[in-house]
């Protein structure tokens, strides 16, 4: 048991192994996310029933809710990767964490924008200090802080370990921040419509949401792998397997053109 675990860890620590394996996963993830997002959005926009209170404007939850869930999952992932980075000093988790932060930040941004768009028909204003939106805004700043730190430290390994510590501090803080913001919200605005108050959803509304959620997760995984693969090539550019890979690619492309010339 311990041996298999160790071997598994060792494999994940190897950028080449990651590059080969993720290369095989990429098309599947891309296909899954494409199908889910396409089917999910058509279903959600055209076929799901209207909300009896909010009319058609509720349909923005099909973007807002998956983005908000992804924003929080990505931060959790960031912290988990951070723990592994600090404890086992794995190069791959360093790379994955660096790749994860900007995607998580854009998900948070998307959740904020859709949330505030939702506010226009619901509250008649672009921004309201709703507990959920405020927590999202804080989460966005937590992401931006991590990205700024990653960017400021030149050595990629030190940058990854420093931002791992910040991500762990952040993940311990998130429940406290969420709780305090909710507490603050009920203190100041006791009776308004809350985004958090979901009416019981009928199956026809709920299934497309699940579809969108799966699509978002697959898209997240795909873009995470894409960014990580890119980082792997940059950080491993001096190793033999990368130089071989890079030598092989232009050769296959330029060969036919050269033969055509001659």
């Amino acid at each position: 048991m311990k041996d298999t675990l160790l071997r598994w860890f060792h494999k994940w620590g190897s950028p080449k192994w990651f590059y080969d394996l993720s290369g095989r996963w990429m098309p599947w993830l891309a296909g899954l996310s494409l199908i889910c997002l396409l089917v999910g959005s058509i279903w959600a926009l055209a076929f799901a029933p209207m909300d009896y209170q909010q009319g058609n404007s509720f349909r923005i939850i099909y973007l807002h809710v998956p983005a908000a869930i992804l924003a929080q999952s990505a931060y959790m992932l960031l912290a988990i990767l951070g723990v592994i980075t600090l404890v086992w000093r794995m190069k791959m988790t360093e790379i994955l964490a660096t790749a994860c932060a900007p995607i998580g930040a854009s998900m948070t941004f998307l959740a904020l924008v859709t949330g505030s768009l939702w506010g226009v028909p619901t509250w008649g204003t672009w921004w309201i200090w709703d507990a959920r939106l405020t927590s999202m805004l804080v989460l966005l700043f937590l992401y931006l802080g991590i990205m700024a730190l990653q960017d400021a430290i030149r050595d990629p390994s030190s940058a990854a370990r420093a931002s791992a510590i910040l991500a762990i501090v952040g993940v311990i803080n998130i429940p406290i921040i969420k709780y305090s913001v909710e507490w603050w919200y009920t203190l100041h605005q006791p009776a308004t419509f809350k985004l958090t108050e979901k009416p019981a959803m009928p199956m026809e509304m709920w299934l497309p949401l699940l579809m969108m959620l799966i699509g978002f997760y697959a898209f997240f995984a795909w873009s995470l792998l894409l960014r990580a693969r890119h980082q792997v090539l940059i950080r491993e550019q001096k190793t033999r397997w990368v130089t071989q890979l890079l030598d092989a690619k232009p050769a296959t492309k330029s060969d036919p053109s050269e033969s055509a010339k001659s």
């Binding site: 600090l86 804080v138 700043f141 937590l142 931006l144 802080g145 991590i146 700024a148 730190l149 400021a152 430290i153 050595d155 390994s157 030190s158 370990r161 420093a162 510590i165 910040l166 762990i168 501090v169 952040g170 311990i172 803080n173 406290i176 921040i177 709780y179 305090s180 913001v181 507490w183 603050w184 203190l187």
Partner: protein
């Protein structure tokens, strides 16, 4: 071969406290500047909003807290910088004593020397912003519970950025979001007291956050310092 006898941890901590104390006393501008900043920021609000009691009184606790938050953050930027530049930080890593304990001695002295004057000054600023007298005690108590959290969490940020040339805005960006719970419970405690309501709940939350921070922050600070020095 030599037989090495290491000094006890208590002795090492005592010596570190004495040294930090001496350093801060002999460099008084580090102590004075955040205090002046605290006063100045608080006094910008009457000028920026309105000097009338009806407008200032409801925001007084928020203003004093935000100013305290920023002043604390300002004083943290230099917490480890000089130690890294003159080489004493790496020597601190090379002592046989646990870094997290030694660092707590340093941060503790920092809190004692910068936050206590700030807490003592807060009622004066509160009074100038028409904060009711019955809220002054709660303000000081809330600051007493809240400022250690601000300094401990900020010290993690300062430790992470110590090896960078320019950090002022970066440190703020990293640390300020983490200050939000303290700000919310701190201002709300004062707010409640100003309306003659009990503030025990808010103070209890601040106490709980403080205990959690006291346990975890030393580990965070020492881990961050090790990352910053070992590069």
């Amino acid at each position: 071969m030599h037989k090495t006898n290491t000094t006890s941890l208590a002795q090492a901590v005592g010596v570190c406290i004495r040294r930090e104390f001496l350093l801060l006393v002999r460099r008084p501008s580090d102590l004075l500047n955040p205090l002046l900043f605290f006063a100045l920021v608080s006094l910008l609000f009457p000028l920026g909003i309105s000097p009338t009691e009806a407008i200032l009184q409801p925001v007084a606790s928020g203003v004093v807290w935000v100013a305290a938050l920023l002043a604390t953050l300002l004083s943290l930027d230099s917490l480890f910088r000089q130690d890294l530049l003159d080489g004493s930080l790496e020597q601190l890593l090379l002592t046989p004593h646990p870094l997290s304990v030694l660092v707590m001695a340093k941060v503790g002295v920092h809190w004692l020397m910068t936050a206590i004057p700030l807490i003592l000054m807060a009622p004066v600023l509160g009074a100038m912003l028409y904060l009711p007298t019955q809220a002054q005690g709660v303000l000081m108590l809330a600051l007493l519970l809240g400022t250690p959290v601000l300094i401990l969490v900020g010290a993690i940020g300062a430790a992470l950025t110590v090896s960078l040339r320019k950090t002022g805005v970066l440190l703020t960006l990293m640390v300020l979001p983490l200050y939000i719970p303290v700000l919310i419970f701190g201002t709300s405690a004062v707010h409640a007291a100003a309306q003659d309501l009990p503030a025990d709940g808010q103070l209890a939350f601040l106490g709980a956050i403080l205990s959690l921070t006291l346990v975890l922050a030393p580990l965070g600070i020492s881990a961050a310092l090790k990352v910053s020095v070992r590069q």
